[in-house]
Symmetry: C2
Subunit: 205 residues, 2 copies
C-alpha cells in the first residue's frame, strides 16, 4: 500500500520519538536478545528499502539474509575475529552489488532501455555506479530496519572474496558491507563516539 | 538533545504516515516551490545525519550546501544539461568524501587512535572506505531531509573534476554525488518507476 503526497503544502517533520528511533538515540548494536526476525519482517524491510532512490532507478544492491545455523556456519570463516559476535544476531544481512545491474535497465527504466548501453560501452562507470548505489541501498536498509523497530550492527570487517564465493556464486555480485539485524541488547551498547561538528564537515556557500 | 533507548522492550515501528514520508510515498523531486531552506534547517539536517553509523566512526563525508546565486553559478557548468533543473532548488547539497579522513581518527575513534595507521599503511583501503561510508552518509542525508519535511532530488550526472575544483579545493576531497533539497513541486513528479521484487534482489538462507 503506497500512499501519495500530492500536495505542495508544507509537510511536518517527524516527531521527536521517530527522530530518536531513526538517528538521535539509535545505536549500532553488538549484542542481541532472543527475539527472532521473521520472514514477514525481512520482506517488510525490503518493501521499504526498495523505494529508496537509486541513480536511474538501477537498484544494484542484492541482499542475502543469513539466518539459518547452516548459513551462519558458512559465513563464520569470512568474518574478522572481532566481528564473529554478529553470528549471535537473528539475521546477518549481506549487502552486495550486481556488476551486471545494467541488464535490468529495460525493466526498471522502461522509458529509456537504451540507457543500458551507457554502461555496456563504458565499463569504467559500472563499478562506481554499483558500489555507490548499493551503499545507498544499504544505508536505507539500516534506517528502514530502525523504522520497523529493529536494531542494526553494520560492519565492513570481513573477507569479501570468501563472502562472494559462499553467498554470491556466479561472479557478478560482490559484497559491499554486512549488517547484523535483530533486537539489540541495550546493555551491550558501547559509549557513543564523537561526531564531527558542522563546521568540521560542512559549509553553506 | 539526544534521548536514550535503554530498554530491551520491543520498540514499535514508526506509524504509517512516517513510513510514507521516509520511503513509501516519498519521491525524487524535479521541481521546487519558492519556500526557502534556512541555515537552521541545514544545521538540523546535519545534526541528524552525523549520527548515522560509519565504519570505525570515520565520518568521511564532507558536505557543501550550495545556496547563494553566486555559488549556483559556479556549480552550473559542472551539471549535465538534464540536471541544470537542480539549480532551481533552494539548496544543492554536494556530498564529497575526504580521502584523508583518517587524520581525524584520533578525534573520532579516541580509544584506538592507532587505527589511523591501518589506512596510512594500506592506501588501497582508503578510497573504498571513504567512498562507501560517504555514500552511506549521503543516503542518511536523503532520508533525514525527508524526516524533517524536506524533499530531495539526488543526482550523479555531473562533472566530478569541475565540482572538486570549484567546491573542494585542496585536492583531498572528491565529490560522490549531489542532491537538490527544498520543498518539492508535486505537480512535477514523474511516474514512479518499477522496483525489483523481493525474489529478484534478495533471499533468505
Amino acid at each position: 500500500m503506497t500512499a501519495t503526497l500530492p500536495s505542495n503544502a508544507a509537510r511536518p517533520a517527524l516527531d521527536q520519538a521517530a527522530l530518536d528511533t531513526l538517528f538521535l538515540a539509535a545505536r549500532s548494536h553488538n549484542g542481541w536478545t532472543d527475539a527472532p526476525v521473521t520472514d514477514a519482517e525481512i520482506k517488510a524491510l525490503y518493501d521499504l528499502v526498495k523505494y529508496g532512490p537509486t541513480s536511474a532507478n538501477t537498484q544494484p544492491a542484492r541482499f542475502v539474509f543469513v539466518r539459518s545455523d547452516e548459513a551462519k556456519a558458512r559465513l563464520a570463516p569470512a568474518l574478522s575475529e572481532g566481528n564473529r559476535k554478529a553470528l549471535a544476531a537473528p539475521v546477518i544481512a549481506l549487502i552486495g552489488y550486481d556488476t551486471k545491474f545494467y541488464d535490468k535497465i529495460p525493466q526498471v527504466f522502461p522509458h529509456n532501455p537504451g540507457f543500458r548501453d551507457l554502461f555496456v560501452n563504458n565499463p569504467g562507470m559500472v563499478e562506481s555506479h554499483a558500489f555507490r548505489n548499493s551503499a545507498l541501498q544499504g544505508a536505507y536498509l539500516i534506517i528502514a530496519a530502525r523504522a520497523l523497530g529493529l536494531d542494526v550492527g553494520p560492519m565492513s570487517g570481513f573477507d569479501q572474496a570468501k563472502v562472494d564465493a559462499e553467498f554470491f556464486p556466479g561472479g557478478t555480485v560482490k559484497a559491499n558491507f554486512i549488517a547484523a539485524i535483530g533486537h539489540g541488547d541495550h546493555s551491550k551498547v558501547l559509549e557513543r563516539l564523537p561526531r564531527l561538528a558542522f563546521e568540521e564537515a560542512a559549509k553553506i556557500v
